[in-house]
């Protein structure tokens, strides 16, 4: 029997920070959207806003354009700071394809 030992070529991943904590329930919470304005986001995200508002009494869903939109800006520190400053409890980001 021939044995061949070799390096795993996929390398390692360094996890530096945890994912955001989840909210326990959406009722009465403040939710925002961060949109790249691509891939029908201009239709889908407003639809989601309507669904959230219908399904969760007391929820506050910010307008789709509450934060800067577009691939060029949504990943910036400035946008992240605006999201934090808005006091949202949760954020939905879209769309990717």
């Amino acid at each position: 029997m021939i044995s061949l030992e070799f390096h795993d070529p996929s390398g390692a991943i360094e996890v530096k920070q945890p994912h955001a904590a989840r909210v326990t329930a959406l009722g009465g919470k403040r939710v925002g959207f961060v949109s790249n304005e691509q891939w029908q986001a201009y239709r889908m995200l407003p639809r989601l806003k309507t669904l959230l508002e219908a399904d969760f009494p007391g929820i506050e869903v910010l307008p789709i354009d509450a934060f800067p939109q577009g691939n060029g800006v949504i990943g910036s520190e400035e946008t992240a700071a605006l999201v934090k400053a808005s006091g949202v409890d949760a954020v939905i980001i879209g769309n990717a394809a």
């Binding site: 029997m1 021939i2 044995s3 061949l4 030992e5 070799f6 390096h7 795993d8 070529p9 996929s10 390398g11 390692a12 991943i13 360094e14 996890v15 530096k16 920070q17 945890p18 994912h19 989840r22 909210v23 326990t24 329930a25 959406l26 939710v31 304005e37 891939w39 029908q40 239709r43 889908m44 639809r47 989601l48 669904l51 959230l52 399904d55 577009g70 691939n71 060029g72 800006v73 949760a90 939905i92 769309n95 990717a96 394809a97």
Partner: protein
């Protein structure tokens, strides 16, 4: 998407709701959102990452066993494909012995971290490069060029983070200047973009870079990279400028674009997503001046297309790379042309009339571009395909034959250069290459 999440330093998973691509097209039916809205709600409330460790740790050694050496090799290659680590062609096993051999070409410590390979964020070390180069059939003397290319690739200015995942099928182009090209048998002449058993370095280095893009960077077709076609990705493009054929007064590419002193071993990395042969030579009784001018127009006419590929590098990158063989460079220089005057010509004659641009929907892409310079360029008619003539890259390479030139359509936010430091016993590696491969072809 999980690649991008991991690349941000988060665990490599995320709360996502995915739909078939049809829902993301204009005029689509978006009612499936209603039916699956609970998945969105769960993502905001109940979802938990499946990864709760601080990291995956060091890459382990793996093992296969076979009834014979041939059987073990076959099982190794099967495992590479089953784990999505291969490229469909046979691979060398990156055994400890082979990787250690490749690492004799390292000018830096094997554990030195070069960065996180985007978008997945795989920790990239000199050893990672050696593993990929071993798999790609490389040799130790190739490692300095690969490491320099990886450093350039990981530089945010290259734009690699977006291009790794983007649908536009970008592939890296590595142009090598200085003496190292000839020393490691990198092709600068006939067939320099293709396979060549006399000068095999480019194929191995480019293949190793591709394996890193996939295995560390996560650019797996249809999963980690949305590249529709993925052309030229088996080996990318790695070649040397034919500096011996540069006319007097023409600087090497590495000097012109990056300021490296002539004679410096260096690499220059850009991205392209197209490769086209252009018949440059005239066919009848043209004068030398007519032959040169018609060839220049034929090239510029090919660049004058509103397909928006060059927009990615409008301000700081490149609309593309022009390759001309040395014999043509010598003729052009004899007629008074320089690389600079050729760039001016291409810039002027590749402009697109705004009416044509509007007909093709080009302004919409320009208006949403992140570059203010690009957005403001819409005021210019005819529209220049790049912000300035210097953005065109002109490289003297290709076989000594005057008929054709080559155009690598740029999709390149930046063009990044790096010097190529060599290990102390590099000359010994070259001597061993002579022993193993025979004398280098002239």
């Amino acid at each position: 998407m999980t690649n991008a999440v991991a690349g941000l330093g988060l665990a490599p998973d995320a709360a996502m709701v995915t739909f078939p691509i049809e829902m993301f097209l204009p005029g689509s039916d978006i009612s499936p959102l209603d039916a699956r809205r609970q998945e969105f709600y769960d993502g905001l409330t109940r979802w938990r990452s499946a990864f709760d460790r601080g990291g995956d740790g060091e890459a382990p050694m793996l093992r296969v066993e076979g009834a014979s050496a041939e059987d073990a090799l076959a099982r190794f290659n099967h495992q590479m494909l089953a784990n999505r680590w291969g490229d469909g062609l046979p691979l060398w096993p990156p055994t400890r012995e082979r990787v250690d051999w490749i690492l004799r070409g390292a000018a830096q410590p094997r554990a030195r971290t070069l960065g996180a390979f985007p978008p997945r964020g795989g920790v990239t070390t000199v050893e990672s490069c050696a593993i990929a180069l071993a798999m790609a059939g490389g040799r130790p003397e190739y490692l300095p060029v690969l490491v320099a290319a990886v450093e350039a690739f990981l530089d945010p200015e290259s734009g690699s983070e977006a291009l790794q995942a983007a649908s536009g099928s970008a592939f890296p182009v590595v142009i090598v200047n200085g003496p190292i090209g000839a020393r490691i048998r990198l092709n600068a002449g006939f067939g320099c973009l293709g396979p060549d058993p006399q000068r095999p370095a480019g194929a191995s280095i480019g293949r190793a870079l591709r394996l890193l893009q996939q295995n560390l960077g996560g650019a797996l077709p249809g999963i980690g990279t949305m590249a529709n076609y993925g052309g030229l990705r088996h080996t990318n493009l790695v070649f040397a400028e034919d500096e011996a054929s540069l006319p007097a007064g023409w600087a090497p590419h590495g000097t012109e674009r990056h300021g490296f002193a002539p004679g410096t071993s260096s690499i220059s990395l850009a991205f392209a997503n197209g490769a086209t042969n252009i018949r440059r030579r005239g066919a009848k009784k043209e004068t030398p001046e007519e032959d040169a001018l018609q060839g220049m127009h034929r090239m510029a006419d090919f660049m004058r297309v509103p397909n928006m590929a060059g927009l990615a590098g409008y301000e700081h990158g490149t609309p593309g790379i022009v390759m001309i063989p040395g014999v043509v460079a010598q003729t052009m220089a004899g007629l008074g042309w320089t690389k600079a005057s050729m760039r001016e010509f291409f810039w002027e004659y590749s402009r697109i009339p705004l009416a044509d641009l509007r007909r093709a929907g080009g302004p919409a892409w320009i208006e949403i571009d992140t570059s203010k310079v690009a957005r403001e360029s819409l005021a210019v008619d005819p529209w220049p395909i790049t912000a300035q003539p210097d953005n065109f890259l002109i490289v003297v390479a290709g076989g000594g034959h005057p008929t054709n030139s080559y155009w690598l359509q740029g999709y390149s936010p930046g063009v990044v250069g790096r010097p190529v430091p060599l290990p102390a016993d590099f000359e010994r590696l070259i001597a061993e290459a002579e022993r193993d491969l025979g004398p280098a072809a002239p």
